[in-house]
Amino acid sequence: MNRLPTLLSGIFLVFLTSWLGLVAYPAIQLGRLAPVADADNGGTLPPTYGGQAIAGQHVYATEGCISCHSQQVRQTSITSSDIERGWGVRPSVARDYLRDSTAFLGSRRLGQDLSNIGVRRPDAKWHFIHLYHPAAVCEGSLMPCFSHLFLTRKIQGQRSDEALELTGEDAPKDGYEVIPTSDAKNLVAYLLALRHDYPLPEAPVKKAGAAK
C-alpha cells in the first residue's frame, strides 16, 4: 500500500460499498417510486400539493423549520409512542415524500413532529396566530415568533377578512390590523397539506388504531 494507485484503488473500492448501498440504490429504487391510485376518489396517493403549498415548502426550507421539527412517524416493534401520541396513524414510508421537493426528515424534536400537522390542526387561523406568537396559543412553547411573516397596517375602510384575531398584548393599535404576507399564507397552506392519514400498499392504516 505504499504506492498511490494501490492505495487509491483500495480506498475507492471500500468506499464504493456505502455509496452503492446508500446513494446509488436509493437513487435508482426509491427515486423511482410512483404514486398509487386512490380507490376512494380516483385520484392518486400521495395527493399532489396545490400551488400555494408548493411555494410554502420553500418557506419551510428557508425559515429552517427543520432545525426543530421532524417529519417522520416511526412505528417498530419497540417504538410506538409516535403513533400513541397522535402524530400519525401509520409509520412514514419513503413514498410519503414523493411530492416534496426536499425530504424534511429532521433530526431533532425541539418541537412536535409535523407529518400530520394538517390533520391535527386543520384550522388556518390557528396557524396564523401560532406563527405570529406561538406562546399565545401554546403556553411554554419554545418556538420563536415569526411576526416577520406578517404585516401590520392601517385599516383602510373595512377591516380585512384576513386580519388576525389577536388579543391581549399582541393586539395591534386601534385602527390597525395584522395580516399574513404571501409567505405566511403559503407556509400555512403547506402545513395544512401535511397529512399522511391515507393508506399506502406498504403502510396500511389499521382500522382499530385509526383516529376516527
Binding site: 505504499n2 498511490l4 446513494v23 436509493p26 426550507a61 429552517g64 419497540i78 426536499t102 424534536r109 416577520h148
Partner: protein
C-alpha cells in the same frame, strides 16, 4: 527550537537529509492563512451557538427579527463549524502534515510560488463561499437540507476550492521522498479523496439537481455520517498517528492493528450515518445496516485507541505538552463517540433518544471533540515550527485547553442527561409535549454556561494566534530593516 519532531524518523531511508525548514517555508503562508481563517469562523460559530442556547431558554431573546430566528441561526452556526472551522483547519493540518511526512516542499522555485499563490487564491474562494453561504442562509436562501444549507452556487465554490487545494496533498504523497508510507499518510490520502466525492454527490443529488424526495433520506444520512467519519475524522486521526509517536518519542507499535483499523473505519464510516434514520422511512435493511455499522464502529475505534494511547507519555515536556494533550483528549473523545454511537444505534435506545438532545450530544462530541481537539493539537504543534520560534502565550494556551475541555464535557453531559429525560418522557404518550419542553429547561439553562465557556475558549485561542502572528510580523519588520 524543536525541529527534530517530524521526518527524522525516516532519515534512515537513504535519501539526503530532509530539510524541514525548507518544507515549512514552502507551506507556511497557505497553512497560516487557512488556520487563521478557520479560527475566526470558530469564534463566530461559538458566539452563534451561545445565542442559540440562550434562545432555548428565552425564546424571545433577539426576537422579532427575521434573520435572527432560531431556524436561520442554527444552520449558520452548524455550517460555520463544519466548513468555516473544521474543514478549513483540516485542510491546513492536512497540507502541513503531508508535506512533512512526504519530506517534500510544496514545489520549488517559481513552481512553488505559483502553487502557493494558487492555494492562497483557493483559500480566499473557500472563505468567500463560507461567508456568502452564511449570509444567504441569514437572508432566507437556505436550501433546507441539513448540513447542506448553502445555496448551490456557494457549495460549488467550496467544492472547486477544495479541489484546487486538496489535489496538491495527494500529489505530494505521490512524489514523496520518504519511500515508505505511514498510516497517517493513508488517512490523509483517503480524506482528501473522500471530501470531493461525498460533498459532490450529496450536493448534486440534494441541492443542485434534487432527485425525487422519496430517495433523499438515506442520501442525507450518508452525507452527514461520511462528512464526519470519512473526511474530518481521518484528518484528525492522521494528526494523531503522525504527531503522537513523535511527541512522546515512541515508535508506533502494533502496526497491523493500525492497518486493520484504517480499513474498517473506511468501510464502516459510510454506513455509520444510517443511525440517523433507524426506524425511519427507509427500507428495513437500511435500518439494519445502520444498527450493525453503528455497533461495529466501536471495533476500529478500539484498534485506533490501543495504537495511540498505548504509548508511554513521560517523554513529553515543555512546549509539547499542550499539543500532546489536545491530541490525547481527541482520542478520548473518540472513545466516547464510539461507545455512545454503538449504544445509541441499538433500536430500543434509538427509538427513545433519536430526536432528543442525545443525538445532538453525539454530533457535538464528534465535531468539537474527536475532530476539533486533534486539529487544535496540530495548530499548537505546527505554528511554532512554521514561524521558527516559540510563539505561544502559555497562559492563553492553557486557558484555551482547560476551557475547551470543561465546555465540551459540560455540554455533552448536559445534552446526554437532557436527552435521556426528554427521551423517556417522549416514550410516554400521557405526558404532553409542552410538559416535556419544560423538563428540558434546566438543561438548556446550563447549556448556556457551557456554550459561554466554549466562546471564551475560542477567544483565548484567537488572541493566542493573533499575538503570535503580530509578534512574527513585528519581528520580520525589524529584521527586514
Amino acid at each position: 527550537m524543536s525541529h527534530h519532531t517530524l521526518p527524522h524518523h525516516h532519515a534512515e531511508s537513504g535519501h539526503e537529509p530532509l530539510d524541514t525548514k525548507a518544507i515549512d517555508a514552502s507551506v507556511k503562508l497557505p497553512v497560516i492563512i487557512l488556520f487563521g481563517n478557520a479560527i475566526h469562523w470558530l469564534v463566530v460559530a461559538s458566539l452563534l451557538s451561545l445565542v442559540l442556547s440562550i434562545k432555548l431558554v428565552a425564546p424571545g431573546f433577539l426576537g422579532g427579527v427575521s434573520f435572527l430566528t432560531y431556524g436561520r441561526l442554527a444552520p449558520m452556526a452548524r455550517d460555520l463549524m463544519l466548513y468555516g472551522w473544521a474543514s478549513q483547519a483540516a485542510l491546513a493540518a492536512g497540507i502541513w502534515l503531508m508535506a512533512r511526512l512526504c519530506g517534500r516542499p510544496l514545489g520549488e522555485g517559481l513552481g512553488g510560488v505559483f502553487l502557493r499563490t494558487l492555494i492562497i487564491s483557493a483559500t480566499v474562494l473557500w472563505n468567500l463561499a463560507v461567508l456568502l453561504g452564511t449570509l444567504a442562509i441569514l437572508a432566507g436562501y437556505s436550501s433546507g437540507v441539513e448540513w447542506l444549507e448553502y445555496p448551490g452556487w456557494a457549495s460549488a465554490m467550496l467544492l472547486l476550492s477544495f479541489l484546487l487545494i486538496g489535489i496538491w496533498a495527494v500529489l505530494l504523497f505521490d512524489r514523496r521522498t520518504t519511500g515508505h508510507a505511514e498510516v497517517a499518510q493513508w488517512y490523509l490520502v483517503a480524506a482528501f479523496c473522500w471530501f470531493p466525492w461525498v460533498y459532490g454527490t450529496a450536493n448534486l443529488l440534494l441541492v443542485w439537481k434534487p432527485i425525487q424526495a422519496s430517495a433523499q433520506g438515506p442520501i442525507q444520512s450518508w452525507f452527514c455520517g461520511s462528512l464526519l467519519a470519512l473526511w474530518l475524522l481521518p484528518v484528525a486521526l492522521a494528526a494523531a498517528y503522525a504527531l503522537l509517536p513523535r511527541l512522546t518519542q515512541n515508535h508506533l507499535n502494533r502496526r497491523h492493528l493500525a492497518t486493520l483499523g484504517f480499513w474498517m473505519l473506511l468501510f464502516l464510516g459510510g454506513w455509520n450515518g444510517m443511525d440517523r434514520l433507524i426506524g425511519g422511512p427507509v427500507p428495513a435493511w437500511m435500518t439494519s445496516a445502520g444498527v450493525v455499522a453503528g455497533v461495529l464502529f466501536l471495533i476500529p475505534v478500539i484498534m485506533i485507541v490501543i495504537n495511540l494511547l498505548g504509548m508511554p507519555r513521560h517523554g513529553v515536556h515543555g512546549a509539547k505538552i499542550i499539543p500532546s494533550n489536545f491530541l490525547h483528549m481527541g482520542i478520548y473523545a473518540l472513545i466516547v463517540v464510539g461507545v455512545i454511537g454503538s449504544i445509541s444505534s441499538l433500536p430500543s435506545v434509538s427509538g427513545a433518544l433519536r430526536f432528543t438532545a442525545f443525538t445532538e450530544a453525539k454530533t457535538q462530541l464528534w465535531i468539537l471533540g474527536a475532530i476539533s481537539l486533534p486539529l487544535f493539537g496540530v495548530l499548537y504543534e505546527s505554528l511554532p515550527q512554521l514561524l521558527g520560534r516559540e510563539c505561544w502565550n502559555q497562559t492563553f494556551s492553557s486557558r484555551h485547553y482547560i476551557l475547551t475541555l470543561v465546555g465540551i464535557g459540560m455540554l455533552v453531559v448536559l445534552m446526554i442527561l437532557g436527552g435521556l429525560f426528554t427521551g423517556l418522557a417522549l416514550s410516554d404518550p400521557t405526558i404532553s409535549f409542552l410538559n416535556i419542553t419544560s423538563y428540558s429547561y434546566p438543561f438548556h439553562l446550563l447549556e448556556c454556561v457551557a456554550q459561554l465557556l466554549l466562546c471564551v475558549a475560542a477567544l483565548f485561542l484567537a488572541m493566542n494566534v493573533s499575538v503570535a502572528l503580530a509578534g512574527d510580523y513585528l519581528l520580520n519588520k525589524q529584521t527586514g530593516k
